[in-house]
């Protein structure tokens, strides 16, 4: 067949069309290859990326554990905070809704501007806070009117609250916002608005109180809106802490010393349970919780009475005459003096080249041990301290809990100082002198104690020789009680000491006879102390020793008192320190008396209904 021109044309067409078809085939193979590469080779990688896109892990905040007193009263609780939010997406017109809300809940122009700004800035489905800390009535009214308030969403948040305010500030502490340096393993700390314990028990036991974060895996869309929950792992609330503190006693104590710079510790002498632990002045932990203003904080910092310090465990003071029981017991136990041996006090005591003085300028005359304790005769104790020596005093002080920490669950506990020959050599490189022993004999010089240690000391003196350890967390049911060690001493020796402490309050020769309890069934004993803050100079002694009232506040003596009650079968020990308060008998003893009286009264009130029942 002869090729017509048209046939030639067709032949060319067929050739070239085949070429194009071939090209299509190559390109299509390229597509298939690419699909294989993405969907078979790369599928795991891309599945991961797709999940990363769609799945968002959200933390569920656990409820912080409560802190309760021994009777279940809340000391640190979680308060529901009533809030009202608006969800712009659900409100047809934000301004109209706010206008309608204004009738129930007044909104200032400034608030309104803030809300409208936030509405503009945020994604439309995210709530904008309209008002917070509402009272229940307002909150309820908003709830009732919800149908007329499109977009309004009532919401409840949780904030930490300290209902007793400054009464337990130093024990409970406070929570506050997380610092960068706090951030560690726990992802909770990175949540906006999360708070952790920053002081007191809130800090020391933060991990127990915090609980465990839960989480929820949610599917989100490209805008971040949650579409559905994929899985959920509920959070575990923090532990509730039951304290040994008795809120009533704590409250009474705190209010009793509210105007002083003081520390008071009350303890059960048999169990070591701390019933009250007060340090004044204090602060309101709620201020810190909500974010304290710099101005307010500066005032707290610059206060000479140091409201931020927990004086009960952080304050170290010379014990003064409250130390004399230790010296006396050490002497009796060592047999260097008989309880009836009399020492003559003419207010002066020569030791080496120097002269030590008794607080009583006229002197006590001839005094036995009980009389020396009752009258707090310094000369007597210079004498027996010299006889027994510092190392035996040191040993006795250690047995009664001085110079050490007890690691109760409150931060900042200090050691105090229970000096010895070895200590002085090691720290100052100087040999121990006889004068040093004399000073320690009256609780001055190197010896330093904390109010908590004084209270432990008193408990151990009066409880029959149990080396109780203070504690502030109530033992849980079933928890095995630690049996305290027994302190070795002769019973008759201790009887002398206790007799002396009884005489301080209840014998006319006692320095605090004025503070004795007059009610039936109420009694207490104790020992006063006045710790010099500043050495009395020779010139002052020659001319005239100024009275405390005449000195500037910081130079006045610390007023101390350790006590116990009742006299028969003591149950409570108390230690009181009023910083620069003056005399222990006049300033500190009345506080102890009032606190113990309050406790006795409370006890009889509690037991009376029971008695009626029994009858």
């Amino acid at each position: 067949m002869v090729m017509s021109p048209d046939d030639l044309k067709y032949k060319l067409f067929t050739r070239r069309a085949s070429l194009i078809a071939g090209g299509m085939l190559v390109l299509t193979s390229g597509l298939i290859g690419r699909m294989y590469f993405l969907q078979v080779v790369g599928q795991d990688q891309y599945k991961l990326l797709a999940d990363k896109n769609r799945i968002s892990l959200r933390l569920l905040t656990p409820e912080r554990g409560k802190i309760l007193d021994r009777n279940g009263y809340g000391l640190a609780v979680n308060r529901t905070d009533y809030r009202v939010n608006i969800i712009p997406e659900e409100a047809e017109n934000v301004e109209e809704t706010l206008e309608a809300l204004n009738a129930i809940l007044p909104i200032s122009e400034r608030q309104k501007r803030r809300i409208l700004r936030a509405v503009k800035r945020q994604r439309a489905f995210l709530p904008v806070m309209v008002a917070e800390n509402l009272d229940w009535e307002t909150f309820a009214r908003v709830n009732i009117n919800i149908p007329d308030l499109p977009g309004i969403q009532p919401d409840m948040g949780i904030t930490r609250y300290y209902p007793e305010k400054d009464i337990l500030a130093h024990i409970v502490g406070y929570v506050s916002s997380v610092n960068k340096s706090d951030i560690g393993e726990d992802p909770l700390l990175e949540l906006p608005g999360f708070k952790i314990g920053k002081n007191g028990m809130e800090r020391i036991l933060d991990l127990r109180l915090r609980g465990k974060a839960g989480n929820t895996r949610v599917e989100v869309n490209v805008m971040g809106r949650v579409i559905r929950e994929l899985s959920r792992n509920d959070s575990v609330a923090g532990d509730t802490l039951n304290l040994t503190i008795d809120l009533a006693i704590q409250k009474f104590t705190a209010n009793r010393v509210r105007d002083e710079s003081a520390a008071v510790v009350v303890m059960d002498v048999h169990t070591g349970e701390i019933l009250a632990l007060t340090s004044t002045p204090a602060f309101d932990p709620n201020d810190f919780n909500l974010g304290i203003s710099q101005k307010k904080y500066d005032v707290l910092l610059s206060d000479a009475r140091k409201p931020l310090i927990n004086k009960t465990v952080q304050g170290e003071y010379p014990p003064g005459s409250t130390f004399k029981m230790i010296v006396a017991l050490a002497a009796l136990e060592a047999g260097v003096i008989d309880k009836d041996e009399k020492v003559f006090c003419n207010s002066k005591y020569k030791i080496g080249n120097s002269t030590k003085y008794c607080w009583k300028r006229r002197g006590h005359g001839h005094v036995s041990m009980v009389q020396a304790l009752a009258g707090s005769c310094d000369v007597y104790f210079y004498e027996i301290a010299g006889r027994v020596g510092i190392d035996r005093i040191h040993e006795m002080a250690a047995r009664f809990g001085l110079g050490r920490k007890f690691h109760i669950d409150i931060p900042g506990e200090r050691n105090g100082l229970n000096p010895s020959k070895g200590w002085k050599m090691a720290t100052r490189g100087v040999r121990w002198q006889g004068g040093d022993t004399a000073n320690v004999g009256i609780g001055q010089g190197d010896v330093l104690v904390t109010p908590l240690q004084l209270c432990v000391m008193t408990s151990r003196l009066v409880n029959g020789g149990k080396a109780v350890v203070p504690k502030i967390l109530l033992s849980k049911d079933g928890e095995e009680e630690v049996v305290p060690e027994v302190i070795p001493y002769e019973r008759r020796n201790m009887e002398v000491i206790l007799k002396g402490m009884e005489a301080v309050i209840n014998d006319p020769i006692g320095v605090a006879f004025a503070q004795r309890m007059r009610q039936k069934n109420m009694s207490f004993g104790g020992k006063t102390g006045s710790a010099q803050v500043r050495r009395i100079t020779k010139r002052e002694r020659d001319v005239r020793i100024r009275k405390n009232d005449e000195k500037p506040w910081v130079e006045r003596d610390h007023a101390l008192f350790v006590g116990f009650g009742p006299l028969e079968n003591p149950r409570y020990a108390i230690s009181v320190i009023v910083e620069h308060g003056g005399g222990g008998a006049t300033k500190a003893a009345p506080i102890a008396k009032d606190v113990l009286e309050f406790m006795f009264a409370q006890e009889s009130q509690k037991s009376q209904p029971d008695e009626e029942k029994d009858a």
Partner: protein, 381 residues
């Protein structure tokens, strides 16, 4: 009918033609469109609104048009080739003038029931016009350079107008479709080699001509991670969607990327990613298979048609269809920069769907009239 003047022996009745319509191709077209309906239903979160329903309606209208076009005598279309070209060109001019007054790009004319893009119509019209032009040339003439002026002008006029819109993707597609007709029409091979070489400086010129967003697209294509939240976002999210679909897919309406809106333009240009995510490699290959059947039919038809007009028409439409498919899929798979090209018969949108159905109509028409010989003089000469 006037068309029966020639070759009475081969003239068929309307009923005969209807019965001879290739049913398989119509079924394949419906299947492809059905994939589109299903995907549009899925991306709406399992709802016929706002896309699937409208798409079905347009498809039905388009199908009627397609069958009507197929049944009309091919010589009528040859006769109408130049008029249709000029009507399309006129509409492009109108759009371009309106676009200038309207500040920015205007690509469509509002026809009331839908917005129509003249540039889409132009693709078919150009192929018709070029096919007619080469049909009328003798074999010797096809290789003459003087005979190149007319077709180049036919191509250049709409390309310039579309570039002015500016729509780089469409203008390149128009050039490619036209070039395919020229190539098979008989233009000397080396001209295409030179022409292809010339694209390099042309590409440089185009770069200068491009709007910043277009330049961005090219740059981002070359390195999507350079701007993962901005211009590269499309590419990256599309790849994640396709890749995470794996072999069997995540299931209908289960694609997290599409259902949670991580995919942009998922109902139009990026609808293939939805298919790939929800039905996996199998879904993608299935759709590709349907396309291949359709293309193979058009190519085989073009080889078996007696008239050069019918051949060039079928081939030109096959190439156009292929280019739509290839560029769209390649873009979805992150192989080429993001350009505004829909997935044929699947993407939501009226203009492209009508254009493609009209095109397939012409292929069916050519196949139906494969034995109709047309003299070089023209349809009614």
């Amino acid at each position: 009918m006037a068309t029966r003047l020639q070759g009475r022996r081969r003239t068929k009745s309307l009923l005969q033609k209807l019965s001879e319509l290739n049913l398989m191709i119509i079924v394949v077209v419906i299947m492809i469109a059905a994939v589109g309906f299903a995907l549009l239903y899925s991306v709406a979160g399992g709802a016929v609104d706002p896309w699937a329903k409208k798409q079905v309606i347009r498809f039905v209208i388009g199908m009627v048009g397609m069958v009507v076009i197929a049944l009309v005598d091919i010589r009528v279309w040859m006769f109408l080739a130049y008029p249709m070209y000029f009507i399309s060109l006129f509409m492009l001019i109108i759009v371009s003038v309106m676009g200038q007054t309207g500040m920015g790009a205007t690509r469509w004319i509002n026809l009331g029931f839908m917005n129509f893009q003249p540039s889409e119509l132009m693709r078919i019209s150009l192929i018709l016009a070029l096919a007619r032009y080469y049909h009328c040339l003798a074999k010797e003439e096809t290789g003459q350079y003087s005979r190149l002026i007319m077709p180049v002008l036919l191509i250049a006029a709409p390309v310039v107008l579309v570039l002015l819109q500016p729509d780089l993707g469409t203008s390149l597609l128009i050039i490619a479709g036209g070039a395919a007709v020229l190539f098979c029409g008989g233009v000397r091979g080396w001209i295409f080699v030179v022409g292809f070489m010339a694209t390099l400086p042309a590409a440089f010129g185009a770069w200068k001509f491009m709007k910043p967003y277009q330049q961005n697209r090219v740059l981002t294509f070359l390195n999507p991670e350079r701007d993962p939240l901005g211009a590269g976002y499309h590419s990256i999210q599309a790849k994640i969607a396709v890749g995470s679909g794996g072999v069997y897919g995540k299931g209908f309406i289960q694609g997290s990327q599409s259902q949670l809106n991580f995919l942009p333009e998922k109902h139009t240009d990026f609808i293939f990613t939805v298919l790939a995510e929800e039905f996996g490699l199998m879904g993608g290959l299935g759709l590709l298979g349907l396309y291949i059947i359709l293309l193979a039919y058009a190519l085989i038809a073009s080889l078996s048609v007696r008239s050069q007009f019918g051949r060039l028409l079928s081939l030109g439409i096959a190439v156009t269809f292929f280019l739509y498919m290839f560029i769209n899929m390649a873009m979805n798979l992150g192989m080429v920069p993001v350009v505004g090209v829909p997935l044929p018969l699947v993407s939501y949108g009226g203009s492209a769907m009508l254009t493609l159905l009209v095109g397939i109509g012409f292929v069916l028409c050519a196949a139906l009239h494969r034995d109709t010989s047309i003299s070089r003089g023209g349809a009614f000469a």
